[in-house]
Amino acid sequence: MRILLIEDDTRAAEYLVKGLRECGHVVDHAADGHDGLHLALTGRYDVIVADRLLPGRDGLSIVRMLRADNNATPVLVLSALGEVDDRVAGLRAGGDDYLTKPYSFAELLARLDALCRRRQPYVAERAMQVADLVLDVHGQTVTRAGHPIRLQPGEFRLLEFLMRHADQVVTRTMLLEQVWDFHFDPHTNVIDVQISRLRGKIDKDFQPPLLHTVRGAGYKLSESP
């Protein structure tokens, strides 16, 4: 991915750039809002990461300028302001995702990946398939290797989300936010338990396993680990 990082905290930017490059991405860095907007308007990026509070021009106004220029590059807004109101403001300004500091690097990576792939033309498929696992959205049915699998409504939504993001790492927070629409820390490992339950239904009696745990990050549904 080609990533533009607009972040004024030089130390944070330093290891974000390092981390993203080590993960195989091409990263440009702008240390203030003006440079950031200039790069965003002139360069071609798959995704932009913009800090909300920047010298010169704040992150939200960069997003607005981009959208006004018909630039649809996905933007992830980073912010130290974590209230739901701030989040709503960030998304309303045209941001595609919002991440509150402090966040984990794995969370950032997973979300950037999700944003980037979402950009590719998305067809509202009737059925989705990963290896021999098939999910029929309209019929609300799941089969693996032709055998029907009975899922609870919550499990179905969880699997649907994982299949839409097949081959991507999804974090626990992403699942909690996008499958259950809860934006809080549930303390206990409710998501892990949900995943292991789902795994018991789709992976236990079949080979190869499809639902993988990615250490320190989250989960991934894919044919290969």
Binding site: F182, P186, T188
Partner: protein, 460 residues
């Protein structure tokens, strides 16, 4: 109190304005009264004047020439006489009345006219100057002319009272001024007290309050309002202070642990595996720190009421379903049963996220403290019409004496030491309940604990 400030006060300005209005109205009333009384007086006097003239004329017709002069002399001699008389012969010689001569331009038609009379014509001693007098004159058949004039005498009583009023006016003004000044002073004094209190509060003493005077007036209403505001401010500040203390208390030790752990790992050359483990542990510690920090901040934000933007209508039944779905597998993993008692169409005004977080904390606690084979019951319904949601478990419960205590921050009961958690779960529930104006009660489930949130009745 310095004078210029008193003079600048609204009360005094109002007093002065009333004073002016009072003076104007008084003047107008006096003028009207004067005009009206004068008119009546004049009419009466003119009638009397005319009657006197005709009486004298009648007397002249019925008697000899000398008699009229005598009659005039007799009248003038009376002490109560208020008229001037003049009788002249046909050739103009003055016969009676003591005048110098007949004044010109007097219509001898028997009617009353008001006229200026030169001083020199008038009988000496009565006037110092030309006089403007009501005069009635008549020509007798033998050519003599008779004139009667009224000595203009203003209605004395009226004049006197008007004079009193005019004399008392400065006194009234002074009195009004004094009352205005007193009122202004009283208001200023009370405002000063409020100002002084504000100053003391700004100086850092948040416990100061504006005194309530007990007059049940606007100032008391203002004082009560200000005090209510100060109570709220103090509560918020206390909350903030608590948060700071708690952060100091609860974040310092894990931060120290984190730091020392990293320092120790740098003391000697270690294997890559060792470093990796240390770093992984450090990340876990960070995670825990962030959680505690977020929980504290979240509670503070809720208590400060800064999350009102998320307010919507929340369907408690649907929310409970979502939460039950999320937590049920975790409960089942511990061999517990999570039951959902349905209450459809029970809605409250509130924040879905915060209510979910509060209920999530309760479910989390229930899963943590309920033994294997236990039951957790999530119930939504109405109690006496009021929306109600409760979480009951079949765990050890909380002794009645400890129930208030556990709602405080960082409290974990002795026997739950082993369980993980930061001790902030219930204080968040408490803050969310307070924000939604819902009653939070902890009671005995025989066995176990019931935590219920009872909202204000919206159906009523």
């Amino acid at each position: 109190m310095n004078r210029p400030r008193l003079l600048r006060t609204t009360a005094l300005r109002i007093a002065l304005r009333y004073l002016l209005a009072y003076a104007l109205v008084l003047g107008a009333a006096l003028g009207a009264m004067f005009w009206w009384t004068q008119g009546r007086h004049d009419t009466q006097r003119d009638a009397a004047l005319k009657a006197e003239l005709s009486r004298l004329v009648d007397a002249a017709h019925g008697s000899a020439g000398a008699t009229l002069a005598d009659a005039i002399a007799a009248r003038m001699a009376q002490p109560t006489n208020t008229h001037l008389y003049l009788l002249v012969a046909a050739d103009g010689a003055v016969l009676a009345g003591g005048w110098l001569r007949w004044p010109e331009d007097v219509d001898a038609d028997g009617d009353v006219h008001r006229q200026w009379i030169d001083e020199e014509l008038l009988p000496p001693g009565r006037f110092d100057d030309d006089a403007y007098l009501p005069v009635a004159a008549s020509r007798l058949e033998d050519g003599r002319r008779l004139l009667v004039a009224a000595v203009v005498d203003q209605p004395g009583a009226l004049y006197e009272s008007a004079e009193y009023l005019l004399e008392s006016l400065p006194l009234a003004l002074l009195l009004a001024l004094a009352i205005g000044a007193h009122t202004a002073y009283a208001i200023l004094r009370r405002m000063d007290v409020i100002g002084r209190t504000a100053g003391e509060i700004m100086g850092g003493d948040l416990s100061r309050r504006v005194p309530v005077w007990g007059h049940d007036d606007e100032f008391d209403a203002l004082a009560l309002r200000l005090n209510a505001m100060l109570d709220r401010v103090q509560q918020l500040v206390r909350g903030m202070r608590e948060v700071t203390d708690n952060i100091a208390h609860d974040l310092r030790s894990p931060l120290a642990r984190l730091r020392n752990q990293l320092e120790v790992s740098l003391l000697e050359r270690r294997s890559a595996e060792d470093y990796r483990n240390t770093l992984a542990r450090a990340i876990d510690d960070c995670e825990q720190l962030i959680r505690t920090f977020n929980a504290l901040l979240g509670i503070a934000q809720i208590e400060a009421g800064s999350r009102r933007g998320e307010w919507t209508t929340v369907d408690l039944g649907a929310l409970a379903d979502d939460l039950a779905e999320l937590y049920a597998p975790a409960a089942e993993d511990k061999g517990q049963t999570l039951l959902r008692d349905n209450g459809r169409g029970v809605t409250v005004a509130g924040s879905r996220q915060l209510l979910a977080q509060a209920l999530g904390n309760l479910l989390d606690n229930a899963v943590k403290y309920t033994p294997e084979g236990g039951t957790i019951r999530l119930r939504v319904g109405r109690v006496d019409g009021a929306p109600c949601i409760s979480v009951a478990d079949s765990g050890p419960g909380i002794p009645a004496t400890e129930r208030e205590h556990v709602l405080e921050r960082f409290v974990r009961l002795q026997d739950s030491r082993d369980a993980t958690g930061n001790g902030l779960g219930l204080s968040l529930v408490k803050a969310v309940a307070a924000m939604h104006k819902a009653g939070l009660t902890l009671s005995d489930a025989h066995p176990g604990l019931i935590v219920s949130l009872r909202f204000a009745d919206r159906a009523a």
